[in-house]
């Protein structure tokens, strides 16, 4: 599949949004969906629908096979050792909750420490916070450096004998920093520490190789990977998890699981290397044009950045930026992006965030830049 034509695969870009072409720069929030995924949902419901796993009739058997097929596709896509290491959840948030519950019941004792980072999303803080309340564990925060990066040293120095778990994002949904998970896992495992990775942003932007990363858990948000809403994946090493059906209680998001197979196929048909290259070019271009604009301050300057560019404009609040950009069809997000800890640290209440998907182009970033100029004009800035 040709990356230059990829936008055509996404029906939404045929629409006018308030008379504008849609410049969608909010994929870190949720990505748009390619037609193959929508068609699969529609086809499944209109030609093959049945609940999975419980009935013996033809449709039920077929649906169960399709459902398990997706499990195998995910296994292959993320290079997990075993199909049973893949659990479907309603989202990454539920996946991370499930990990915290599992570890809370198996290994965490009062006063044990869970090490997270200042970059974490709410969803990778709240479950540990609950364990703090119910099990009296401690939460420690590895600090970011001046570049908004999280070098491994900053993790290492927070590790104590009490550290049992490191729970960490693969890719910051604010700074776009890519964290050295493989090295962190090596360090952690050498000290018997379990590694939980919030892979929400890693999912769409990075090569996923569980056996290489060697982390114990990895949480994925399917709707950010060109898949349906209401679906997440928890990868967990076999030694931590019972069989998936233990966690997949009640009727599952059957149609969504079955359609997610098409998201994986879509990603595979382009190839993650191509996606990474494309998005790297975009990020570099984005950084370049925004840095030229001297009212704009990029948030963080990580060594390796992917998928996300957050910024502030001196004198214009991010909400005002978002509203003004929206008027020309440029959809970004403003707020703290569920990363209040990071924003507190940076001393800002909110930021504006442009985030990328496979369908974006330099043109989109030019429109972002024009929108920013418009903000400055309205707010009478130089």
């Amino acid at each position: 599949m040709n990356i230059d034509n990829i936008k055509k695969e996404f029906p939404i870009f045929d629409e006018k949004i308030q008379n504008n072409d849609l410049v969608y720069l909010d994929s870190a929030n949720s990505s748009q969906k390619p037609k193959v995924v929508l068609d699969r949902i529609n086809d499944f419901y209109s030609k093959q629908f049945s609940n999975v796993g419980r009935s013996l009739h033809y449709l039920a058997v077929a649906a169960t096979n399709l459902y398990e097929n997706t499990r195998s596709s995910v296994q292959k896509y993320i290079n997990a050792k075993d199909k049973n290491e893949i659990v479907f959840t309603k989202g990454a948030t539920e996946a991370l909750n499930l990990v915290a519950n599992t570890l809370g019941q198996s290994i965490l004792e009062p006063n044990d420490e869970v090490l997270i980072t200042e970059l974490e999303h709410h969803s990778n803080y709240v479950p540990w916070h609950f364990l703090r309340k119910s099990k009296n564990i401690k939460i420690k925060f590895a600090e970011i450096n001046e570049d908004g990066d999280l070098p491994i040293e900053n993790i290492e120095k927070e590790i104590t004998e009490k550290t049992k778990v490191i729970a960490i994002t693969h890719l910051s949904n604010v700074t776009g920093a890519v964290l050295p998970i493989k090295e962190i896992t090596q360090l952690a495992h050498s000290k018997g520490i379990v590694v939980v990775v919030d892979g929400c942003q890693g999912g769409p932007h990075l090569k996923l190789d569980m056996q290489d990363l060697d982390c114990d858990f990895y949480a994925i948000s399917c709707h950010k990977m060109y898949g349906p809403t209401g679906l997440g994946v928890l990868y967990g090493k076999k030694k931590w998890l019972e069989l998936p059906n233990k966690y997949e209680a009640g009727t599952m998001a059957t149609a969504q699981v079955i359609a997610f197979d098409q998201s994986i196929k879509f990603l595979e048909s382009i190839g993650i290397e191509k996606i990474i290259k494309h998005e790297k070019e975009l990020i570099e271009y984005g950084q370049e044009i925004l840095q030229k604009n001297n009212s704009v301050k990029l948030i963080g300057n990580p060594k390796k950045r992917s998928g996300v560019l957050s910024f502030t404009i001196k004198g214009v609040h991010p909400h005002d930026i978002a509203t003004i950009l929206d008027e020309t069809g440029v959809a970004i997000r403003a707020g703290h992006h569920c990363c209040q800890i990071l924003h507190d640290k940076l001393g800002i209440p909110a930021s504006a965030r442009a985030s990328l998907g496979v369908y974006n182009s330099k043109d989109d970033l030019d429109k972002l830049n024009e929108g920013i100029s418009n903000c400055k004009k309205i707010f009478d800035l130089k």
Binding site: D320, T323, E327, G335, H336, P349
Partner: protein, 154 residues
């Protein structure tokens, strides 16, 4: 383009140089408000004297141009009013933001009304309505002094 209506000069000016920003001395009523979705927060302080008149009013907080301007204009107009007048103005303002085309109260002078009407641009921006109303809801809470933190999410 409705942006011009949203970001009228007076809004931009109040947003940039908000009046009554800070913590007034000797306040006897206050309340906090926040918008958990976008992280805006405001703290309204007021001094209601024995004659139930708003002797002083101020606010602390951070937020977008709309929310800062709204708090700034609000404090400006409420200062010196009796608590009943204040309540009428608040109700009138919230009603205007919600549905009424005009302000109806007979308390404010025409040019004060014009200032408030400038905030009506948010009507076309549903997600921004909360920016304009948060400080007003917080003022209500302060006057009732029920100590409840106001949240936009209900």
């Amino acid at each position: 383009m409705n942006l011009k209506e949203l970001y009228q000069e007076i809004i931009l000016e109040h947003g940039k140089n908000p009046r009554n920003l800070g913590k007034t001395e000797n306040f006897n009523k206050d309340a906090k408000g926040n918008n958990p979705l976008c992280g805006d927060n405001v703290h309204v302080y007021l001094k209601l004297n024995d004659q139930r008149k708003v002797e002083d009013i101020s606010f602390e907080g951070s937020g977008c141009a709309i929310s800062m301007a709204s708090a700034s204009i609000m404090t400006d107009l409420i200062k010196g009013k009796s608590d009943n007048e204040a309540k009428e103005i608040i109700e009138d303002f919230l009603g205007m933001i919600k549905e009424n085309p005009e302000l109806k109260n007979k308390i404010l002078k025409e040019d004060d009304k014009t200032k408030l009407m400038c905030l009506s641009g948010v009507k076309q921006y549903p997600m921004r309505v909360k920016c304009a109303t948060l400080s007003w809801h917080t003022l209500v809470s302060a006057m009732e002094n029920d100590g409840k933190e106001v949240s936009t999410e209900n």
